[in-house]
């Protein structure tokens, strides 16, 4: 019986560890996607280092898309649809958001880059997607994203699409949204 007990406890340990492993896959997945950029996910951390120089010999077209999630009543669109940039150049692009409803709503934008492999090379210095955004009833605001394209972007990419999906997160709001965006 003692023989059984030690083996059973080892096997139970494996079971418990594997249960934990299932949950560990969540952060592992995020880290993996962030490091490799393969999920079209861009970094949630502002880029602090600028490119060494501007590569004027090359042009890259950035397309901007915006899509409110189906439960999100905001009107949400980019100021312009596309922009042609040189790698290394810092640009600011504004997204327009309007809350047409009669109540305050907090939004969270989630970026996605395609082709996914290009995500690693699109650096955001500042982005409205880093924080939750709060908009009072009937108000509008401009939401900027400041970015540059890494000159190391492989040559096969000439167009990068940056899409933001906007979610209504009022229900989970902790009061930490960027309050300076209240009103216009």
């Amino acid at each position: 019986m003692q023989l059984h007990r030690t083996l059973v406890s080892k096997l139970l340990l494996v079971t418990v560890l594997m249960f934990g492993f299932g949950f560990a896959l969540v952060p592992l997945y995020d880290v993996f996607c962030e490091v490799t950029g393969i999920n079209g996910k861009t970094s949630n951390v502002p880029a602090t280092v600028l490119a060494d120089g501007i590569d004027t010999s090359r042009e890259v077209t950035i397309e901007f898309l915006a899509r409110p999630n189906k439960d999100m009543p905001w009107i949400f669109q980019p100021e312009i649809r596309r922009l042609t940039v040189h790698p290394g150049e810092v640009h600011v692009m504004n997204y327009l958001a309007e809350n047409p409803t009669g109540r305050m709503i907090v939004g969270q934008a989630v970026p996605s880059v395609s082709p996914g492999q290009a995500a690693l090379y699109l650096h955001k210095i500042e982005c409205f997607c880093f924080t939750q955004q709060q908009l009072a009833a009937g108000n509008k605001m401009l939401m900027p994203v400041q970015f540059y394209v890494d000159p190391a972007l492989p040559a096969q990419f000439s167009t990068i699409t940056l899409n933001y999906t906007l979610y209504d997160v009022t229900a989970n709001w902790q009061g930490s949204a960027a309050t300076e965006n209240l009103g216009e």
């Binding site: 494996v14 079971t15 299932g22 949950f23 896959l25």
Partner: protein, 528 residues
């Protein structure tokens, strides 16, 4: 040796054995528990099967005839769940309970009381799942794979019951697996060394490890679905920083090893039956053991072949494509060994052998369609079509289920003490063989032509094939009634079976009398 032990066993056969329902409720005897698992699996096979009949009825003609789309979705979902967790897995556990102690010369399973528990929680799991179908809003309808956000954002109120029942099924399988490992590890008779163990024991040993490694991951996945749906977490919700694709990674990390959980014991069964009826020892025993182990290891490295169309980068698809194809190598070793075992053997073709032979051919067809699916660019076309349905039914129905049926015929005389009716058995075999191919083979064609799976209606050009498939399905369902008839008839009586039952059978289980006494190997046999 054996004769003496049996006299002795027969004496206290009638001792302390409660009668009536109490015997079954409180039993810790591996044979009783094995029987209960097998009967339960058969019952679930018919319940899940009747759901498949509803599916085939609706798909008999294009257009919507009999059921609502949402109910159709519930049928595909619960059919899958019941067949995987209620029929195939418990059937294998039942066979393990009955046969492993007898094959290794142990008096019982190592943890008999846990054994009782692991069986008796199962009926509750399935009762909950089945009753959830009657809730307002219906039962689970997101597919057996319960992809988020179908199972989170868009699922109905029965989802909590689904999660609860999957947890119970998982706990049951984990307890069963621990029991198998401890039994094999600690309770082998003197002389029963690792490399003398029958392959059924080996394959189950490895399966049990797969179970304790992946069932907890499934438990994690359903837990995350539960908290996402009811408690405001966002594991799979992009709005809260989660990712629905993450669900698929977690699910298939469980899911692919799970398909091997459903096939490795089948390999063990076929490796027991082929040598018996070819009257030759198994060809390449050691390579069979290593092949099984390498399949188990590789099964952890291929999960994303279910996710080629999620937009993975090229290097990842290549990695998973090559790893998947690599699994075909040890699988091929097995098929080769079975064929080599039969080569120049003195073969006879009783029902277990027929099912085992059909297994080899039809499982191989399923393996080939699997290889086609593993080719990433081709999978972009095949994914989520009936081609995938054809693939996994070849490996699961004419693979896993046929092996279970073969095992039942092979060991029935040992269990009941009577020979089954050979003529009826052959009838069952031929009806099953023909109808299973009528049912699943044309699915390859409609799948290649683009008919999507899990949809209650289809384009007109698929009408003839679908009518044909449905007829095959009804015939296959009816054929299984013959199986029940054979079992009932065999349990009631018939020609007395000898201890060895089959002329070519070898191994400890054939040294005890038929029917196997309630207690076997109370004193361990000596294995030479």
């Amino acid at each position: 040796m054996s004769a003496i032990t049996h006299e002795h066993e027969h004496d206290h056969d009638h001792d302390h054995k409660p009668t009536g329902i109490k015997r079954w409720l409180f039993t810790t005897n591996h044979k009783d528990i094995g029987t209960m698992y097998l009967v339960f699996a058969l019952l679930m096979f018919f319940i899940g099967g009747s759901m498949a009949m509803v599916i085939r009825l609706e798909l008999f003609q294009p257009g919507m005839q009999f059921v609502e789309p949402q109910f159709f979705n519930q049928m595909t979902t619960v059919h899958g769940l019941i067949m995987v967790f209620g029929a195939v897995m418990p059937a294998f556990t039942g066979l393990a309970n009955w046969m492993i102690p007898m094959m290794i010369g142990a008096p019982d399973m190592a943890l008999p009381r846990m054994n009782n528990w692991s069986f008796w929680i199962l009926p509750f799991a399935f009762l909950i799942l089945l009753l959830s179908l009657f809730m307002p809003g219906g039962g689970p309808d997101f597919g057996w794979t319960f992809y988020a956000p179908l199972s989170t954002t868009y699922s109905n109120d029965s989802t909590a019951l689904f999660v609860f029942s999957v947890h119970i099924m998982g706990i049951s399988s984990i307890m069963g697996a621990i029991n198998v490992i401890v039994t094999i590890w600690n309770m082998r008779a003197p002389g029963m060394t690792w490399m003398k163990m029958p392959l059924f024991v080996w394959t189950w040993f490895i399966t049990a490890f797969l179970l304790i490694m992946v069932m907890p991951v499934l438990a994690g996945a359903v837990t995350m679905v539960l908290t996402d749906k009811y408690f405001g977490t966002s594991f799979f919700d992009a709005a809260g920083g989660g990712d629905p694709v993450l669900f698929q990674h977690i699910f298939w990390f469980f899911g692919h090893p799970e398909v091997y959980i459903m096939i490795l014991p089948a390999f063990g069964i076929v490796s027991a039956i082929i040598p018996t009826f070819a009257r030759k020892p198994l060809f390449g025993y050691a390579s069979m053991v290593y092949a099984t182990a390498s399949i188990a290891v590789l099964s952890f490295l291929v999960w994303a072949h279910h996710m080629f169309t999620t937009g993975m980068p090229v290097f990842a698809t290549l990695f998973f494509m090559y790893c998947t194809m690599l699994i075909a190598v040890p699988t091929g070793v097995k098929v080769f060994n079975w064929v080599a075992t039969m080569w120049r053997g003195a073969m006879t073709f009783e029902v277990p052998m027929m099912f085992a032979l059909a297994f080899i051919v039809l499982f191989t067809i399923g393996g080939f369609s699997g290889l086609m699916l593993a080719i990433t660019p081709a999978d972009f076309q095949y994914h989520d079509t009936y081609f995938v349905v054809a693939h996994f039914h070849y490996v699961l129905v004419s693979g896993a289920v046929f092996s279970i049926i073969a095992a039942a015929y092979y060991w029935l005389p040992k269990w009941t003490g009577y020979m089954y009716d050979e003529r009826l058995g052959q009838l069952h075999f031929w009806c099953s063989l023909i109808s299973v191919n009528l049912l699943f083979f044309p699915m390859h064609f409609v799948g290649l032509a683009g008919m999507p799976r899990r949809i209650p209606d289809y384009a007109l050009q698929f009408a003839d094939f679908n009518a044909f498939i449905s007829v095959g399905g009804f015939l296959f369902g009816l054929s299984q009634l013959i199986f029940v008839w054979v079992i009932v008839k065999c349990a009631r009586g018939g020609e007395k079976a000898t201890a060895q039952v089959w002329e070519g059978a070898e191994g400890l289980e054939w040294q005890v009398p038929s029917p196997a006494p309630y207690h076997t190997f109370d004193t361990p046999p000596e294995v030479k």
